[in-house]
Symmetry: C2
């Protein structure tokens, strides 16, 4: 609503395509969401397991990202009232479906990775020459 809006919802009144893709990206964006989703798609995974698996993530961001994914119904959080506590996260069917489409992107990325790197190097060479 305010012009100081980093969220992309401002485009929602645009083409529906933009709107929807943007929605996906919004919840899957952020440095860590995808990594977590991938781990949680393999099966139930504990907080500390994620923390170690993800490599570089801070406790804070792990928590925040988990909460957001849970909020959107992409992760199910199960608390075992034991001592010490045990909490497991697992991807919901909805998240697993999303995962499939993400794998589509993965394929694209892998196929074009080299070409893109080359294009980028080319561009930088040309523009670097100008400047």
């Amino acid at each position: 609503m305010s012009p100081r809006n980093t969220d992309v919802s401002a485009q929602v009144d645009e083409l529906p395509a933009v709107c929807s893709v943007i929605e996906v990206l919004n919840r899957v964006s952020g440095k860590w969401a995808i990594g977590i989703l991938i781990e949680a798609t393999r099966g139930p995974v504990r907080f500390t397991e994620l923390e170690r698996a993800i490599n570089g993530i801070s406790r804070r961001m792990l928590t925040l990202t988990l909460r957001n994914l849970e909020r959107d119904g992409l992760l199910e959080r199960t608390v075992y009232p034991t001592v010490p506590p045990k909490v497991e996260y697992e991807a919901t069917p909805r998240a697993r479906e999303l995962y499939e489409y993400l794998m589509g992107l993965t394929g694209w990325a892998e196929r074009h990775r080299g070409a893109i790197a080359a294009a980028r190097a080319d561009y930088d060479r040309r523009e670097g020459a100008v400047a």
Copy 2:
């Protein structure tokens, strides 16, 4: 390399899946890239046309995003040396292929949009009750 790295390349040594998806997201992320890609996929489009079509984008961000997409070989930029100048952008085949996968995400988003909104409302009600 530095810890002050917002880029997700730090995960590159992780599972290849994470790595690749992240790569895609990195270049398609940002508030405007997708909108531009969609417009440019329909056919050649001029700078000012984009500016009006995208709704809310600033000149600065339009330029920046266009440059990045061009750099990655996702857009082709054609300058007609007329007066006044005329510049057209069009999606490359590579971008069109990406576009297909983005449409997969679109479908997912549209199918789950309602459920996600509901899940979110639910979550907020529960958590709001606690706090």
